[in-house]
Every structure is written in C-alpha cells, then in structure tokens.
C-alpha cells in the first residue's frame, strides 16, 4: 500500500480535479478556451516566442484542446494531478526516501486553488508540469549518481507504525485545508457570469435566464448580468413583460454599455448590436475587443461574419485565414470562406444594408437611444430595436418621448398593450391631462387605473413593504423608488 499510495493519490486527484472542472469549474475551461487560440503557423510561433515566451506558447497549445470541454477537464485535471505525481517521483529519486509529509501535494493543490479564478493564467500550471517532467527525465538519467549518494548518506528508517499513523493524518490535514480554501476561494458570481455569457454565445436563452436569475437573486447590481438577461428576455419574447422583475437600479446601463473605453466591457458590446442588425457597431466593439484580448476564435469568427455581411470580403478573409491555421476552427472558417462573396451569413442580418452613406451619419456611442430610433426608422420591422428603444426611454424616465414613439408599436403584432406600457401611459395621462392624452389615440384600461388607485393608496400610506410586494415589478415603482435618474419624468 505504501508504494502504491502515490499512484492512488495521483489517480484520486485526477478524478477530483476533472470532475470539478467538468461541473462547478466548467466556466474556467470555457473562459480559457475563449481567450486563447493556438495557430499552426510560423508567424504565430515567432510572435508568441518574442512577446510571451515559450511557456505561453505551450500553454496555448494545451488550451486549444479545451475546445472539447471534456478534453479540457481531463487535460487540466491530468496536469495538476501529474504535478503531484512528478513531485513525488523527483523527491523519491533525489532523496531516495518517501515523501513522508506528502509535501508533493502542495504545488498541485496550490496551483489548483489558483485556477479557481478565471483570470489566473494557466502558464504556471503548464510550466510546472513541463519543468517537473524535464526534471524527472534528468533525475532518471542521473539515477546511478543519486543511488551512490544514497549509499553514502543512508537514511534513518521510520517505523511502519508511525508511517501508518502519520500518512492518513497528513492527508486529512491537506484535504481539510484544501476543502476550506476551495470553499472560500470559489467565486460563484464569476461562475454565473461566465455561464450566462456561454449561454448567450450559444443562444441558449433559457439557460441565460436561469443563470442571470440565480445571480440576481443574491446580488442585485451587475450591469453585465442585466445586459445578458435583457438579451435573453427579448429572444424569449418576454422583455416587455419581465423588464422590472428585478430592481433596475442601473437604469439604462443594464440595457447596453455606453462606450467608456473599458477593455473588459469591450468584449460584450457586440452581442446587442449584432442582434439588432447594427453591424458597424457590432464590428467596432468586436474589433476593440480583439485589440485588447487578442486574436482569439470568438473575435476572429465574429469579425469575419460582420465583414462578410458588410461586403468587405478581403477583410473577412484575413480573419478566416487565421482561423484556418487553428486545429478546431478550421471547419467553421472554411464555411465562412465559402460564403465570402455572398454577403450573407446564417443567423446574421445587416439592418442598415443599403442605407445611404451620404451624408455621413456617425453613431452615438454614449447613448443608444438615437441609434435605436435610427434603426427603427431605417428598418421598420426591427422589433428588437423597437423594444429596446421603448425600454431605454422608460428606464431613463423619458415618458413623454416614450409616448411619442409608441405609435411604432403598430408595426408589430402585439396581442395586447404590455402592462409596463400602460403604466407609463397612465403616468403620462396624469401629467398632461385627459384632453392631451386623448390626442395620442391610446387608452389605459380600467384594470390599470384600478391597480394604480391601489398603488397610490399604499403610496399615500407610505406602506413601502406592501408597495414592493404588490407593485415592485411595475413601472410606477421603478419611477418612484428605483430609477437612478430620480423620481421625476424627464420631459425634454
């Protein structure tokens, strides 16, 4: 048993690590795969060696296999487990003694705990693995020398009884410490965010809603989570009915990212613009992201797609050629190359295709409102642009402009006026009076009037608890208590 223990422990560690990476740490595998791309080209090799070094090159080589999550789990788990096994082997070869205190476990556990954060580079893991492997070969080559030294400096023997007691005790301490550190280091919020991102990328909207709900149940303020949630709600046809399910304390910043030259945010802006069919803005965000985060597969694929539908085949081809040098994205790249001159990519539409470019119109990168209106004007059937425009106006307290643009709704086949629209209309009606309201051609249902009467009653009673319980998901409550722009309607 004593001799088999290292093998058993290596195997056990492999199984534990692999299962963790396959389950609660699956976001780590996804994150690394999305942020690295290994290319089989001399240009890539030269650039990596000059700028990042050999170990980074090897790390990227390993990470490319994370394309298949099971392979990523096994590889990362295998390397970390091997770090223990190789440590043990090297200690054994050099000292000729067993690792009584199981010190060999420390590097493996330490590195594993470090990988709990998505931002932790895997270069130390790969470097440690390669270094220990090389050391093991060197020690094997020098084994005769080590044996001679072992003879000269004989070790004191430890009784099997002590060994039997010490080993389980030491292992228990390591296991307890590792468990404690794991629980305290594990970042559930990061897990939810990355899983939500993965779901958005895969257009798995139900999963995106599930992840964002679970996140918001615990932590109410996160622009990215709201951003993903709104996308998912729209695609599930629920945006207008569930906009205020969670308190929108960020206002319009939960709807889109104003351009703040923020490198982290640059990764996400393109999702919204792509879905809106606003290809120039999607391309701009994605290009900025590539500049900051490197030539990775998601950026290259999207840039190729956007440039194809924007009829810039030679630009798209550059990104495609890079992807063709990868192991796992070659097939997708080939498909895009086949569509290069068609101007069409499956699942992607350019809502502004054919729109006059003279005089030049420039995007408002700080406020999406004018852009949504522009999309509604140029692409009248763009339902997403309409819903986002309405949400943007409501979230920014611009009820008057909301009512001005509400007639756009007639372009779409909504079975009924969404409740939040009626709530906003009622606010407008109360502000402008019956006569002016009647001129809009809209009506507020008696039920909404009754609900507002109840809301107002609770409001007068200052019964905040019941107000939140009964009306926390209404526009009235947002306007009175949540909006970061104050509790007044903006009229200009």
């Amino acid at each position: 048993m004593k001799r088999k223990l290292p093998f058993f422990l290596t195997l056990l560690l492999f199984l534990i690590y692999t299962s963790l990476y396959a389950d609660v740490l699956s976001h780590i595998i996804f994150y690394h795969e999305q942020h690295h791309l290994f290319l089989f080209s001399s240009q890539y090799f030269q650039h990596q060696i000059e700028t990042a070094g050999w170990m980074s090159y090897f790390t990227d080589f390993v990470i490319q296999f994370f394309y298949y999550p099971w392979a990523g789990c096994a590889l990362l788990g295998g390397m970390l487990a091997s770090i223990y096994g190789l440590c043990y082997l090297n200690i054994r070869m050099v000292t000729g003694r067993d690792d009584l205190l199981q010190l060999s476990l420390i590097p493996s556990l330490y590195l594993f705990l470090q990988t709990l954060s998505a931002d932790y580079s895997l270069v130390p893991v790969v470097s440690c693995f390669i270094g220990l492997l090389a050391l093991a070969f060197a020690n094997f080559w020098m084994r005769l020398l080590w044996r001679r030294l072992h003879v000269r400096f004989p070790s004191g023997s430890i009784s099997p009884r002590i060994h039997r007691i010490l080993t389980p005790a030491v292992l228990t301490v390591y296991a307890a410490a590792a468990f404690y550190l794991f629980v305290h280091s594990y970042n559930m919020a990061e897990h939810r965010m990355l899983k939500a991102e993965q779901a958005v990328k895969e257009k798995n909207w139900e999963e995106a809603l599930a992840q964002t709900s679970q996140y918001l149940d615990r932590r109410p303020n996160n622009a990215l989570i709201f951003y993903f949630r709104h996308l998912a709600l729209y695609h599930e046809g629920k945006l207008l009915d569930h906009l205020f399910d969670y308190p929108q304390r960020l206002g319009v910043k939960g709807l889109y990212f104003p351009w703040n030259s923020d490198s982290r945010e640059s990764e996400y802006g393109h999702f919204l613009y792509e879905d809106l069919g606003y290809i120039n803005e999607a391309q701009r965000w994605e290009f900025e992201a590539m500049v900051v985060w490197g030539e990775t597969a998601p950026h290259l694929l999207n840039l190729a797609r956007y440039n194809i539908v924007n009829h810039r085949p030679q630009v798209a081809l550059k990104f495609i050629r890079l992807l063709q040098q990868s192991l796992f994205y070659r097939e997708e790249a080939d498909k895009l190359e086949a569509a290069l001159y068609t101007g069409e990519v499956e699942g992607l539409q350019n809502a502004l295709s054919g729109v006059e470019t003279v005089p030049a119109r420039f995007a408002n990168v700080m406020n999406i409102g004018p852009e949504l209106l522009f999309l509604c004007e140029q692409d009248p059937q763009n339902r997403m642009a309409f819903e986002y425009l309405m949400c943007d106006l409501l979230l920014s307290n611009q009820v008057v402009r909301f009512v001005e643009h509400l007639p756009l709704m007639e372009r779409f086949d909504y079975p009924a006026m969404p409740a939040i629209f009626e709530e906003a209309l009622l606010m407008y009606k109360l502000g402008v009076g019956e006569e002016q309201f009647a001129a809009t051609g809209f009506a507020v249902s008696p039920q909404t009037e009754q609900r507002f009467a109840r809301y107002y009653e609770l409001f007068q009673q200052k019964d905040n608890y019941r107000l939140r319980q009964e009306f926390g998901k209404t526009y009235w409550y947002y306007l009175n208590f949540i909006s970061p722009y104050g509790n007044k309607i903006i009229t200009n």
């Binding site: 120039n280 701009r284 890079l322 030049a360």
Partner: protein
C-alpha cells in the same frame, strides 16, 4: 566493419534515390507543352515594377493552379537561376537575388514561369521587372499596430533593413507599460535627429538630437492642445508641430468604419535649443484649423493644411482642408513667419488635402486628396497628387493610386524613391509600397509591396504599417529612448507672433 559498410551503402543509396526522386519531381529543364500569352498571376504583384538595386528578395507565390511549378529568373536571354517545387511559393535565396540585381542593374530582368497542369506544362509569358541603379535608403521605420479604433494593446516602432528581412524594434510599448507610441519623425531621413510621442502616464515627446535624447512636454505652456503631427526642419534645429484636438467618430452605415477628425488644430515651430514653440496669429487661434506641417528642403517655407474651424454645428463631412504655405526665417526668431498663401484651395472643389510632402530637390510636392476631413487613411477615395512647385500645376499620380486608400507617404533622402501607405489589398490594413521616381520627368514607376520572406506574410498579418519613413542608417539608440520614457518632461513655452 561489414555492418558499418552496409550502413554507409544504405545511406548513400537513400541519398541517390532521394536526389533522383527530387529530380523526377522537378526536372532541370522544362519543355513546355503549351504556352500562354498571358503573364501568370503572382502575389505580391511584382510585375512591371522597378526595384532598387539594394532591395531584399521579392519573394512571391504563383496564383495559377498546378501540381508543379518552375520559375526561371534571368537577364537578357540568360537564365541566371531556376527554382522548381511542387508548391507555388518562390522564395529566392538572398545570395542569388543580390547577384541578379547586380547583373540587371539599369536593365530589365525576367521571371519565366512554368506550371504543370493536367494537360502538361504551360509556359506563361515572361514577367518583366526593372532594376534601377538608384539605391533606396537602407532602412524603413514604421509603427505596427492594429488598425483599430480607440483601444490599444501591443504596438511598437520598428526598423526594417530593406536589403534583407531583418526587423528590429526601435521601441515597443510592452517595454513601457503598454503606453501609446506615435508620430515618429526624422530629419532628412537621418535618424540622428529623431522624435516620437509617448501617450500615457509618461506623456511627453522624446527628441534625439546631437547624440542625446531629451524628453519634453507634449503640451506647450499657453497652448490648448498637445503637439501632434511633426516635421523636422532640414537643419535639425526646429520641429514644426501641429497642436490638435482629435476625436474619433464611427460611421453608422456603409463600409467606412471610422472618421478621425480635428475639433481644433494650430501650428507652431518648436526650437529645440530654446524650448520655445513659435507660432503666428495666422497659424494659431480659433479662426481655422492648421495641421500636417512639412518643410521645404531649404527650411525657409513651411507647408501645411488649413481648414475652417469646427463648431458643434459643423457636419464632419463638410470639413475640408486647403494646401497652404508660410515663409519661415530662422534668423529672426522674434518674427520668423511671413505672409501665408494658399497653394491649392481644394475645399472650393469639394476636396480636402492632407500629408503634403516636398521632394528633397524642392521641385515636387506630393499630397493626399480625399472628399473631406484630413485623416485620409480611413477614406477609400483618397489618392495621391503630385504638384510641380515650380509651376504650381498638379496632377493625380495615377501610377501610384488604386481604387482604395493611398495616404501617408515619404520621400527617400535622394528623392528617387517614395514609400506610401496603401490599403489596396484589402481595404483595412495599410501596407508599405515603394515606387521609383524620375525626378526630371516627374513620373513614378509602378509601386511594389515591401518584400517579405514569406510570400503569404501579408495575408495573415493583422497589424497595420503606420507612418512608413525611410532611414539612411539604422536607429542605434533604442536603450536611450527606453531610458528617457519615464523621465520628467521639460516644459516648453508658446510664443505667438501677432
């Protein structure tokens, strides 16, 4: 012993078989089964171009489909060397290329291509190129970065030995905390007088002069905007700077991604000896925007572009710049500027001028013309125009232009060569093209793409070549530049001539 002999015999047999195999694949002489009157398609397009006698091998690949390829290169009727391969890449050994250039100096050389297709070998019409005895400056400096929008990560200024493929960094931003580096400029292509801007926490301008690197503030005391585009005067004492407020705007529609526009711009001449930035009411103030300075070779005239002032109501696509000049007298620094004059009122024709550059003999001025704005690198319609300064006449330099962007350009120290940034290959990435210039006739030869060792280099290289500029000698003070970056910048002072 017997085993050793056996091994040697086996190895020798393998070598012979290998050689025979190679010979079988790539015959030493080709008898064409067919001939084509067309010249073959090759990339880069090294056809009918003029190479300098000291350029690196112009490697290319053959774009005609085939199973085997043979390329013969020679002068007059003599084939100097040939290359055969099953791959279409033609990578010429440097030694053979140099011998070719020497032999072809002042003459044409041919590239004869045979392609083995299903119906046998096809011989294409010979490609003819010319070798000029005029050598080009030995190095090319340029900045490499993504042709992005606002964010940046990796960038650097590099120098390329034009007679080989050797590239080395002058300064890379990964060595200085990823700050932005820009606007590297030299005087008369001599790197002894060299400058560049650093933008970031170590904001400032590094100026190398008289063997020393000095760091000065990029914003003169009394000026509203920082020093931006630069031009060294030929003496190396003065640097003309534009002081710009620049903003990026993003096109909502169409294929043009971005507009980089001045919101304000003034011009001044910085005296490196006194740390004073001299300017004039004609070049400084809210009445107009003056930018893109360029000196005449005698240093007595400063050329620049001038547009109307920007206001919030000004549509960006109505901003246009004229080509102007102003006398400069270095002997009277209390009032160095004379009366400005307009050389070409491009705005009246709905056009806009940028990047004026005067040839070293002072006879020619090359500028970029686009529909509006002055950041022509983002304007596909931008073309180069050549003005004869002796007559004031100008023409489109059609021999340089393409349907896509031609923008930044600089002359070689002799004036026989020009390097220009063009996006003709794909519309996004600027590539350096080099063209020969006949100084007497005022004619350019067809430009050729800067050769690279790998003929496919440009197809996957995603950095843009920014501000290509010839150097007569390599920059050797990289360490001094690096050490100067974190230094405190010296103040510079604005002096306005009324």
């Amino acid at each position: 012993m017997a085993i050793k002999l056996l091994r040697i015999s086996a190895l020798a047999s393998l070598c012979v078989a290998g050689w025979l195999g190679m010979a079988g694949c790539h015959p030493r002489e080709i008898h064409a089964d067919h001939t084509s009157p067309q010249i073959p398609r090759i990339f880069p397009d090294y056809t009918n171009v003029t190479f300098p006698v000291n350029i690196a091998p112009a490697n290319f690949y053959i774009q005609e489909p085939g199973a085997s390829f043979r390329t013969e290169i020679g002068v007059d009727d003599e084939v100097l060397f040939s290359l055969s391969d099953s791959r279409p890449e033609v990578v010429v050994p440097e030694r053979r290329w140099r011998a070719l250039l020497q032999q072809a100096e002042g003459k044409n050389f041919f590239i004869r291509i045979f392609v083995k297709q299903e119906n046998g070998w096809t011989q294409y019409a010979d490609i003819q190129n010319h070798v000029s005895p005029d050598s080009v400056d030995a190095f090319l400096a340029y900045r490499l970065l993504y042709p992005g929008y606002e964010l940046w990560n990796e960038m650097g200024i590099y120098q390329r030995d034009l007679s080989s493929f050797r590239v080395e960094p002058i300064l890379e931003n990964r060595r200085i905390g990823k700050q932005c580096l820009n606007c590297h400029t030299v005087a008369r292509q001599n790197p002894e007088n060299f400058m560049l801007h650093v933008r970031g926490k170590d904001n400032g301008t590094l100026i190398r002069r008289g063997g020393k690197v000095e760091k000065v503030a990029s914003l003169a005391r009394g000026a509203a905007h920082g020093n931006t585009y630069a031009a060294w005067d030929p003496s190396g004492r003065f640097i003309a700077f534009s002081m710009n407020e620049i903003q990026q705007f993003f096109h909502a529609t169409g294929q043009k991604p971005i507009e980089v526009s001045d919101l304000a711009a003034d011009l001044g001449v910085y005296d490196t000896e006194t740390h004073v930035l001299h300017t004039d009411s004609a070049l400084f103030g809210a009445d107009g925007m003056e930018t893109f300075p360029a000196w005449s070779p005698d240093g007595r005239t400063l050329f620049y572009c001038r547009g109307n002032a920007y206001t919030r109501a000004t549509p960006l696509d109505s901003l246009r710049y004229d080509l102007c000049a102003i006398p400069f007298d270095a002997s009277d620094l209390r009032a160095p500027f004379g009366e400005p004059r307009c050389l070409y009122a491009a705005s009246r024709e709905g056009k806009s001028v940028s990047f004026p550059r005067v040839s070293p003999d002072g006879n020619w001025l090359l500028f970029t013309l686009s529909d509006y704005g002055n950041f022509s690198i983002w304007h596909p319609e931008s073309d180069l125009y050549l003005m004869d300064l002796r007559t004031g006449q100008f023409r489109a330099a059609q021999e340089l232009n393409s349907p896509d962007v031609e923008s930044f350009h600089t002359w070689s120290s002799s004036g026989n060569w020009l390097v220009l940034s063009s996006k003709r290959m794909d519309g996004l990435w600027a590539r350096p093209f080099i063209a020969h210039f006949d100084t007497a006739a005022g004619q350019f030869a067809k430009p050729f793409l800067l050769p690279q060792k790998d003929p496919h280099f440009y197809e996957t290289f995603t950095r843009t070549f920014n501000l290509p500029e010839f150097l007569t000698a390599p920059v050797t003070f990289q360490r001094e530049l690096l050490e100067a970056v974190p230094r405190q910048a010296s103040d510079i002072f604005l002096q306005v001539q009324k």
